[in-house]
């Protein structure tokens, strides 16, 4: 039986793998997509304590190499279910390929980009609509684009794009931003950035390619069309933990209910990172959860 199965190879999962390995236990991490999780899309991380500046890709790769170098195993399989063993001594984890047994499980499933959920969004993804400014920004050199969102990702994306694009509209449904002041202030100073506040995108325009958006002012109800070639959606994330509903409690937003000790309602099942209920979703809190969950799981196994 494996000591600890970790679901998700993002920063929380890989940090948990590192701590598990260093505690002398066997960690098996399952990842359905790519290691690193959301952070891979970030061009520059400047707020991780101890690291002045690093790209998301380099950070994710470093984490992956550290974990696997220590003996943790990462398998690219999607976890479909986690169940208690009949004898109550451990869990059965089923993936799309196989079935595995573990003494403890850490759910570190993170979250995915939230979509606007409006007409033409799917159809025009890849044809002007993007969720990754760093992947696609350069193609909009000299063009007009918009970023929708009010958190760090949106502001960082807008900053990144302002270096390539002729104009960047920042569309946000409120007056104030959740984003860090540092970057927001730098953005406000850029001449080619225009803020469209208290507004939301109500329509996507264009046939084969995006040609513009319609935004609606939430106070006046006034609608206005903005011609753009690119729309970068950065309106937050959504977790996906429905497969684990039997063993853990989920809040209204779908996040796994757990406190700072990373314990769920089921003994032997822990949760770490963006997928759990918490106020601050950052790399550093994901990493810290990984350590806490791993050490709690190790104590549980040793008890």
């Amino acid at each position: 039986m494996i000591d600890i199965i970790i679901v998700g190879a993002g920063p929380a999962g890989l940090s948990a793998a590192i701590y598990t390995a260093r505690a002398g236990k066997k960690a098996l991490v399952f990842e359905s997509y790519t290691y690193g999780g959301q952070i891979v899309n970030t061009p520059e991380i400047e707020n991780y304590p101890g690291i002045k500046n690093i790209s998301g890709f380099d950070y994710a790769t470093g984490l992956y190499e550290q974990a696997t170098g220590l003996g943790a195993e990462v398998k690219f399989e999607k976890v479909l279910s986690v169940d208690k063993k009949e004898d109550g001594k451990g869990f059965i984890v089923k993936t799309g390929k196989n079935s595995y047994e573990a003494k403890a499980v850490i759910l570190a499933t993170g979250a995915k980009n939230r979509h606007l959920g409006i007409d033409k969004e799917e159809a025009l993804t890849g044809r002007g609509i993007s969720y990754c400014a760093t992947c696609d920004g350069a193609f909009y050199r000299g063009k007009d684009v918009a970023v929708n969102g009010g958190g760090n990702t949106a502001i960082e994306d807008a900053m990144f794009l302002s270096n390539y694009c002729s104009k960047v509209y920042v569309i946000h449904r409120r007056e104030g931003f959740r984003a860090e002041n540092e970057t927001l202030e730098s953005l406000r100073k850029k001449e080619n950035v225009e803020f469209v506040l208290n507004a939301s995108i109500t329509s996507i325009l264009g046939e084969d390619r995006l040609s513009g958006i319609e935004v609606t002012d939430k106070n006046s109800g006034e609608k206005k069309e903005i011609k753009i070639d690119g729309l970068f959606i950065a309106i937050g994330q959504e977790p996906d933990n429905k497969d684990f509903e039997e063993l853990v409690d989920l809040d209204k937003g779908g996040y796994i209910i757990a406190g700072e000790n990373c314990r769920t309602k089921t003994e032997g099942i822990y949760t770490a990172g963006d997928c759990r209920t918490k106020d601050v979703r950052q790399l550093v809190t994901a990493a810290s959860d990984g350590a806490i969950a791993a050490l709690a799981a190790c104590s549980f196994i040793d008890a």
């Binding site: 890709f57 993804t125 890849g126 993007s130 760093t134 992947c135 350069a138």
Partner: protein, 103 residues
């Protein structure tokens, strides 16, 4: 064996005039998900001998990228007999990619 990296000048000969279907990986250095996908594309080059696999750095092939209407990367395009059969934007895990190639 890995994906063959080509320039836009080589595109016609290596892709459009290829007698085998060709999977082209359009990538760039500053694109994180591209860097995640490229090693998987290299593995596909080894594991799917029925197709030819090439990679193009779009920064050095902007004219081609515009011609091929590429504005989002990573972008994988499957060509057969000189024509685009289908394309996919964004990262894909290996198994899903193999299925996508089969069509």
């Amino acid at each position: 064996m890995a994906a063959l990296q080509i320039t836009e000048e080589q595109f016609e000969a290596e892709v459009l005039k290829s007698d085998k279907p060709v999977l082209v990986d359009f990538w760039a250095i500053w694109c994180g998900p591209c860097k995640m996908l490229s090693p998987i594309v290299d593995q596909i080059a080894d594991e799917v001998p029925e197709i030819k696999v090439v990679g193009i750095n779009v920064d050095e092939a902007m004219t081609l990228a515009t011609e091929q209407a590429i504005t989002n990367i990573p972008c994988l395009i499957l060509y057969e007999n000189g024509k685009e059969v289908r394309r996919s934007v964004g990262f894909q895990p290996k198994d899903t990619l193999k299925e996508w190639i089969k069509g």
